[in-house]
């Protein structure tokens, strides 16, 4: 791998569970020093993709290279250099968190527990408590600490903020930005759009086992356009809005609502032939965009 090559390189990755398709022909590159968000509804294939990258699942076909190494054959070498936070995990319930984390640290071949103590302080995690006695949020913190404590250069996380309170989430985002500033690469799945919008550089959207779009967040926002809502004085024929770039059209009698992903001028000129009672234009949020993406058959 060259220094500028992708940290994670996924080519035509397919994973089937018997007859069930987990992910289909997925291509994705994740570059050094970026935070890549991985968005999709439950069951879309996010966890399958992540667990296949980590060699916890055997891929059906395709290729995954991490640091230029083969995800299956060089799995041990890869795992030396990555931290992983599973979406659903457990630890040894009877043991204090410190004991567990030290054990996991030793599995990584890492002895310095300074970063571990520091992370625990930062996220207000009591290392002396037994893991089994922790709340959901604190268990999640223990998971986060174990993913970052060995100073790995690539961190893969499956829904990392699940269970964290809003303040802690903000702290976590801040922490991610700091990690990125240090050159760490982060690949995280999420179904919280605000989270991806706030912290990620790029986003990959997956639906029904297939990757729909990979885009920079800022470019995506630009592309997203706006929501236009118009009220006419009488019922309007939907064919009026037969314009390239008008999406998600909903016509309800005299009212029409649509997403404008083209030049607004075209639309305004077209509707000016009708009498307009009211008109409003809203900036589209990523959240709405996302919902639109999911509601469109085939994802557009």
């Amino acid at each position: 791998m060259t220094e500028n090559g992708p940290v994670i390189e996924i080519r035509g990755l397919t994973k089937n569970y018997g007859d069930v398709v987990g992910i289909k022909d997925l291509d994705l590159n994740i570059h050094r020093g970026e935070i890549m968000g991985f968005l999709g509804p439950n069951g879309a294939g996010k966890t399958t993709t992540i667990r296949t990258c980590l060699d916890l699942l055997q891929k059906t076909s395709g290729e995954v290279r991490i640091f230029g190494l083969d995800s299956h054959h060089d799995s041990i070498e890869i795992r030396r250099r990555i931290g992983y936070l599973p979406g659903d995990f457990g630890m040894y319930n009877d043991l204090p968190v410190r004991t567990i984390l030290r054990y996991l640290l030793s599995l990584s071949g890492y002895e310095d527990d300074g970063p571990m103590e520091e992370l625990a302080r930062r996220f207000a995690l009591d290392l002396d408590k037994r893991y089994g006695s922790l709340s959901k949020g604190n268990r999640q913190k223990a998971g986060i600490v174990q993913a970052f404590m060995a100073g790995q250069e690539l961190i893969i996380m499956d829904e990392p903020t699940a269970g964290l309170d809003p303040l802690m989430q903000q702290e976590f985002y801040e922490f991610l930005r700091e990690e990125r500033a240090e050159g760490k690469t982060i690949f995280m799945s999420s179904h919280i759009l605000a989270e991806v919008e706030e912290v990620c550089d790029r986003v990959a959207i997956i639906r029904d086992a297939e990757l729909q779009v990979v885009e920079r967040i800022d470019a995506l926002k630009e592309k997203m356009g706006k929501t236009l809502e118009i009220e006419f004085d009488k019922e309007i024929d939907p064919s009026v809005f037969d314009i390239r770039g008008v999406e998600g059209l909903e016509v309800d009698g005299r009212r029409a609502r649509m997403i404008i992903a083209c030049d607004l001028d075209q639309v305004v000129k077209r509707v000016s032939e009708h009498n307009i009672v009211n008109m409003s234009l809203e900036t589209f949020s990523l959240d709405q965009f996302f919902m639109t993406y999911y509601s469109r058959p085939g994802g557009g």
Binding site: Y17, T47, R51, L54, L56, L57, Q58, I76, E77, R79, R80, I82, G83, Y84, P86, D88, F89, G90, M91, Y92, N93, D94, L95, T99, Y103, L104, L107, S108, G109, G143, Q146
Partner: protein
């Protein structure tokens, strides 16, 4: 980590094993009479002499005369509870002969009763048997429970030999499947630990525990026998070996448990499979020991090689057999590693 998470259960089982062995030995002398054969009714009145005729044995019976007896009747049957008339009534002398065909074990067991006819009424003179009487326990289980060896054999066979195998099979199956069920596997295997290393380290731990447990059980057995003053010098080695030689058998059971766990990745099913494996072996051995002509079946099971009677009574055991079983255990473990390396981890 195994020790840190399982030490309570493992230590408890070690204590239970020690307690049961010592307790069984301590209770044994007071049960002594129960293991001795019941006396036959009037056996002092009938004497038996055997005459070896090659393929047959002639039994000479002689009894004390009964006053006023018109004649005598001789009854015979292989079990003492079901004697049937052997010969027409009317033996005039105080003696009779009975011919027995030899079987595999030489002279067969046959019970006799002599009945006198006095004034038209039947009256038991006495009973006798062709062989020295064995206790009900010995007849049922095939070991003489009044002997130290028999007691040890009985204890292993029917008591906690089974308990130990089920327990260690359970521990082996559940220690791996628990990591799946408690969702620890993803984190552990995201560290630079190969699946092979993960599995072998667990197995090595269990192997060490098994060796320790068998050693403790053997020492407690010898120690408690010594404590009740029943330990002869020659018995130290057989008693110790009776425990230690279970090692490869347990190893095989644990390997099967490990294989089941990595294959099904579900605790209940894995434990069920290893229990099935243990109980199947016990069942086959039970059938082999009870049904005539099926003795060879036990040689198809690992447990069959843990031949307690040979170890305890004759102090003989085949090192080759045990190496073979240990090798089988390692082969099963190797399959478990291969399966584990190729399977998706349940998430």
């Amino acid at each position: 980590m195994e020790l840190r998470t399982n030490w309570k259960v493992l230590l408890t089982f070690l204590a239970v094993v020690s307690f049961l062995v010592a307790g069984m030995v301590a209770a044994w002398p007071s049960m002594g009479t129960a293991f001795q054969a019941d006396a036959l009714e009037g056996e002092e009145n009938v004497s038996v002499e055997l005459e070896d005729l090659g393929d047959t044995v002639k039994v000479h019976l002689q009894w004390s005369p009964v006053e006023g007896a018109d004649n005598y009747t001789l009854l015979a049957y292989p079990q003492p509870q079901m004697l049937v008339p052997e010969r027409a009534e009317g033996i005039d002398t105080e003696s009779a002969e009975h011919l027995l065909e030899k079987d595999e074990g030489g002279t067969p067991q046959m019970y006799f009763a002599v009945v006198a006819l006095v004034d038209g009424e039947r009256q038991l003179v006495g009973m006798a048997s062709s062989l020295e009487r064995t206790s009900v326990y010995e007849e049922t289980f095939g070991v003489d429970m009044s002997r130290v060896e028999g007691m040890a054999s009985f204890m292993w066979d029917l008591f906690w030999g089974l308990l130990m195998m089920l327990f260690l099979g359970y521990v082996a199956a559940s220690t791996v499947s628990r990591d799946f069920e408690e969702r620890k596997m993803d984190i552990i295997l995201s560290k630079p630990v190969s699946r092979r290393r993960y599995l072998l380290e667990k197995f090595a731990f269990l192997t060490a525990y098994t060796a320790l447990m068998l050693l403790v059980a053997g020492l407690v057995l010898v120690g408690s026998m010594a404590a009740i003053g029943e330990l002869s010098e020659g018995m130290v080695a057989p008693l110790l070996m009776s425990s230690l030689l279970a090692f490869p058998v347990v190893l095989l059971i644990m390997a099967v448990g490990t294989l089941a766990a990595v294959y099904v990745q579900d605790g209940r099913t894995a434990v069920g499979l290893v229990f099935l494996f243990v109980l199947l072996q016990v069942g086959i051995n039970l059938v082999a020991s009870m049904a005539e002509g099926l003795e060879h079946l036990s040689s198809y099971t690992a447990m069959g090689y843990w031949d307690l009677d040979a170890i305890l009574f004759d102090n003989v055991y085949s090192v080759g057999d045990f190496v073979l079983i240990a090798a089988a255990a390692l082969a099963v473990l190797a399959v478990a590693v291969l399966v584990f390396e190729r399977r998706d981890m349940a998430g």
